[in-house]
């Protein structure tokens, strides 16, 4: 997966980038699965490998296929990135070990979901109960986000082509 990511950085063919981001997403989904997040894997598969890639390809078809390789100074981004990374590494030093059942996150809120959701809410899939019931309001927000994106795309690229033509004329 890391290799994919590095490959993505260096490839300049945007098509290859789109393909690789599909692969990246697939491997992320496998990782989710290994970490027991079946629902997330499901979504990532549908979204990352499906919708995002297809949209990205559509964009490529509408724009251009190659990145111009620019040889400007990459020092500043590198410094920022390393600083951020160092901060995170610094943070990992105090993190509970991977998979530790005694970690704080597994003790406070989550316990109730696991123990009671079957009785209080019903569905055997705890993720569904939490998503739809305990944190149903988040999901409402999520739906609104998708709604926003859709009407945003409608507003930006909707069918009426007039504004775009006008702009082209302006440029001419």
């Amino acid at each position: 997966m890391a290799i994919t990511a590095f490959g993505l950085v260096y490839l300049s063919s945007l098509f290859a980038v789109a393909m690789l981001s599909g692969i990246f997403s697939l491997s992320a989904a496998s990782l989710y699965l290994v970490m027991d997040a079946v629902d997330v894997a499901f979504t990532e598969a549908a979204v990352g490998a499906g919708i995002s890639t297809v949209l990205m390809l559509g964009t490529l078809a509408l724009t251009t296929r190659r990145e111009k390789t620019s040889k400007d100074n990459k020092a500043l981004p590198l410094v920022i990135v390393s600083a951020t990374g160092a901060l995170l590494i610094y943070a990992t030093l105090d993190m509970p070990p991977y998979g530790d059942p005694a970690a704080p996150i597994n003790h406070h809120v989550a316990v109730r979901y696991i123990e009671k959701s079957g009785i209080e809410v019903g569905p055997p899939n705890i993720v569904t109960s939490v998503l739809a019931s305990y944190r149903g309001y988040d999901t409402l927000g999520e739906v609104t986000v998708i709604f926003t994106a859709a009407i945003g795309v409608m507003a930006l690229m909707g069918r009426s082509r007039k504004p775009r033509r006008k702009q082209k004329k302006d440029r001419a």
Binding site: F15, G22, S30, V34, L57, T64
Partner: protein, 95 residues
């Protein structure tokens, strides 16, 4: 036994990934991605058995479908991208 299959799948995935990175043409990458998708699907099925909860095959089923749609989309858009920008000197690097 499942472990053996898992490892084989992982190795093959690495090979497909290598092909995707090496190219040389876009189509090689697409081909590799396609194989990668199939392999992921297999990996999920096998992993389900490996972890003792094989109920989640829906995901693998979904992968088969999504992979199919993805590849069809790619092949369509590849051709289109070329048709619209037929005179583009910088396409050579891909092919």
């Amino acid at each position: 036994m499942f472990i053996v299959a898992t490892i084989a799948i992982l190795i093959t995935m690495a090979m497909a990934l290598a092909r995707a990175l090496l190219g040389p043409s876009v189509f090689d990458r697409i081909l590799a991605t396609n194989s990668f998708g199939t392999l992921t699907m297999l990996l999920i099925s096998v992993y389900g058995f490996l972890s003792g909860r094989p109920e989640f095959l829906d995901i693998a089923l979904l992968y088969t479908l999504i992979n199919f749609i993805g590849i069809i989309a790619v092949t369509k858009f590849v051709n289109f991208g070329n048709a619209s920008h037929s005179v583009r000197e910088d396409e050579q690097g891909d092919i």
